[in-house]
């Protein structure tokens, strides 16, 4: 067992080295992750959602690399609880993995508090990062975050912001950070899908909307919507005109990003975790995945197990502080 561990650790290190040196390619899989059977990716969504499509795109290039089929198992329900129960109960052999978003982390603190916690799982790879941005209708008088804040100052609590998820959701917490920084109050209007938000902004039913880049970029190009600010360190390469929150003078924590990552049951061997992460990152370089990812407007993530676990802790700290500030935690 120790020998085996040693060997895989070395080969994993070799993989990392190969990646670092730019020798990455399907070759790296030769001594990488070799699952002994079909690998299940358990999803918390129904078939066809953004996260689901990501896994199916990944499967296309990952399957030939690992020489096993990749089964996408949709287990929606319970705000992720159905999926997490399946993953937590699975054997830590790397054959059952799950895909998570930031909503998993906020659920640990709110609805699923006491049912699941971050320590129940191994956080293996951060595959995608997707900053949130604020947009308005093309003819709207609101052309920047500053405009939005000024509007909210003139009529407190009456500026309608449409976003995905209820009070306490990822996007809502992002906006509460802006509220605190600017000292204003917005009126949060919850929607259940991003297209609904786009329709509501274009129809003039809300003043501004929150979204990730992918679903709205076509509307920017068509000049139907305009981006007024992105919550991130840098501007987005595909929308160079849109300033960040920070550039407009609102210093909101820029690690508050939408993410998509891979996790598994907690006792997976760290070396195996590293192998899985490496295999995934290599598979992400394939053309099919890149075509999908660029049209979806997401950035590729690079965090392996250690960095991702640290990232999860950081996100949980921010989320807890925000939820407390918004008076959404019971304790």
């Amino acid at each position: 067992m120790t020998v085996w561990n040693f060997r895989t650790t070395v080969s994993a290190a070799a993989c990392v080295a190969a990646l670092g040196l730019g020798f990455a390619g399907p070759v790296a899989a030769d001594d990488g992750w070799k699952p002994t059977g079909p690998v299940s990716f358990v999803m918390h969504t129904k078939p066809g959602g953004g996260t689901d499509v990501m896994v199916r795109a990944l499967a296309h290039s990952l399957e030939p690399m690992i020489g096993q089929t990749l089964v996408v198992e949709n287990a929606p329900g319970g705000g992720g609880a159905t999926q997490m129960a399946k993953v937590r109960a699975a054997k830590p052999d790397g054959l059952t993995l799950g895909v998570n978003t930031v909503s998993h982390f906020t659920a640990f603190l709110t609805n699923l508090d006491g049912v699941f916690s971050a320590d129940d799982f191994a956080w293996i790879a951060l595959m995608q990062v997707d900053p949130i941005l604020v947009f308005s209708e093309k003819d709207s008088a609101v052309t920047s975050i500053t405009d939005l804040v000024e509007l909210a100052r003139s009529k407190p609590g009456q500026v309608n912001i449409g976003g995905f998820g209820p009070v306490g959701s990822m996007q809502h917490l992002g906006m509460t950070m802006l509220e605190q920084e600017a000292g204003v109050v917005f009126n949060w209007v919850a929607f259940e899908s991003t297209p609904d938000i786009i329709a509501a902004v274009m129809g003039g039913h809300v003043d501004a909307g929150v979204a990730n880049l992918g679903p709205v970029i076509e509307f920017f190009e068509a000049d139907r919507l305009k981006g007024i600010g992105v919550l991130g360190d840098d501007r987005l390469s595909s929308v160079p005109d849109m300033q960040t929150f920070g550039e407009q003078g609102y210093n909101v924590d820029t690690s508050w990003l939408q993410v998509r990552g891979v996790f598994g049951p907690k006792d997976i061997d760290p070396a195996l975790q590293q192998q899985i992460a490496d295999a995934i990152f290599t598979a992400m370089e394939a053309d099919t995945y890149q075509t999908y990812a660029r049209s979806a407007g997401v950035e590729d993530g690079t965090h392996g197990p250690a960095e991702y676990t640290a990232f999860v802790e950081r996100i949980l700290t921010i989320a807890e502080a925000q939820l407390k500030a918004a008076n959404l935690l019971s304790q």
Binding site: S40, V71, E73, V167, N187, W188, N327
Partner: protein, 167 residues
Amino acid sequence: MAESKERGRTSRLELNELRLAMWLCDLAGSGILLWVFWIYLQHANALRRPLNAADIGAGGFPGLLALIAIAALLLLLGIIIFRHVVTRRRASLVIQRPLFVVMTMALLVGQAILFDRIGAIVCVGGFSLAILLACGERRPMHLVGVPVALTAFIYAVFVLALGVKLP
């Protein structure tokens, strides 16, 4: 119903039909619904007040709904009693082969409980045989053929063609 009303020969066990006074069943049914909506109303009222003053909150809509439903149920109770007192028509609720109906209900519940314990395929085969028996099928060919064909069909479609992982 358009199908033939003539019933087959009944076996010794079989109670042919159960007749209950419709108005009593109606009263019982409405009473239970009234109780359910009452509990529902209390849960709705216990939900947290909204943080946003313009929102009627998580409990607002269910609360309103429960109140109207309770009013409608009281009206229905009134109508049932009024009808019973005023008219002489005595309708009754008829359940044919009540024993087998109750047995099948138990079978459905049993199948739900055992489905992930003993496996979907075994479950479907076994319970389809039981339902066939409950429904009055006695021909041995059918009793064997249907469960086997059904299980094979389900395995082919769900497991082989669609790749569903059944317990």
